[in-house]
Symmetry: C2
Subunit: 211 residues, 2 copies
Amino acid sequence: MELTDRQKQIIEIVKKQQPISGEKIASILGFARATLRPDFSLLTMSGILQAKPKVGYLINEEHTNSVLVEQIAKQKVEKVMAISVNLTKETSIQDAIIQLFLEDCGSLYVTDNREILGIVSRKDLLKSALGDSDLNAIPVGMVMTKMPNLYTVFSDTLVVDATKLLVTHRVDSLPVLSRSVYEETGKKEVIGKFSKSTASRLLLDIFNKDL
Amino acid sequence: MELTDRQKQIIEIVKKQQPISGEKIASILGFARATLRPDFSLLTMSGILQAKPKVGYLINEEHTNSVLVEQIAKQKVEKVMAISVNLTKETSIQDAIIQLFLEDCGSLYVTDNREILGIVSRKDLLKSALGDSDLNAIPVGMVMTKMPNLYTVFSDTLVVDATKLLVTHRVDSLPVLSRSVYEETGKKEVIGKFSKSTASRLLLDIFNKDL
């Protein structure tokens, strides 16, 4: 649920001065009590505030415990994703490995005109490097994990769902595909990645904001 | 801070019935008001409860917003760490790579009688595999990142601090060292690892518990 700035202000006031009457909140904000009636209705019906007769408004503890975490969890992945490093399927394994070190990343996405074809992980490259073959001669298209055998998310996938996918399937990263391009053209265009590094950073964000 | 069961009960009662008088809480719990005085003092001084004259006890929103997240953040890493895969420094790179695939892990710890000597990452192994040398002939001790050039944590390091280290230094995992063994003998014994996978799982835990 997206709150208006005024609703957020009301929550802040209740946080600091609870229990507090609607009248008093209105006077602090410089509005008539009646003007704020829709805000109070929304905030109590949604469970953010609790209205106690003869006492006033209170923060509904059960609910707001989760507000900050919920804000992060319900964000779209496009808001938090990292930049992906993309290669064409003709790139040699040798060049892919060089890219991996140059960009200091964990997985490389193989694309055709920005459409996702597959992922090459450090382990895929390691397996290839173990063979006797000439790494300059083998294209990454030969060793990548191909679509549709990989987990992807859309730009509007929620952070909570992407995290679930990442942890459940024990993958290092998920290619983020543009929802709008997909809806318009059916093309799975990569616009970023959601990785364990992203998840670790979000955990730190929660800790930092919350402690 | 570790709360007693009685203190936790008081918090639960205040959550549901706030604002509520000390008298009423005492009667619900079947104690005299005086018996609970030390609990009320602790809970208000620590900022968990707020005491408003003529109103009663309230949950201090600012503080308890963070209780769940704080519980996770302030845990010792030994409570959440994963099992590490350890090798001796004589292990060949070839065997290390086999271990990496067998155990499906991201980094291997090199130990001597359980004391940490270094880390071999997928990238270290990849770099070695690129060379012309016989991977059966080179020991991991030659290619590992050696102590003290690696980030480690102790068993009693807080999850929030370990996460900070992981994100700030962009490493995949941190060896967890036993605090008690270190205090007694000065030996840096590895007892587990705190990795980006651990952090991702904790993020999912927070989402699951909180939404």
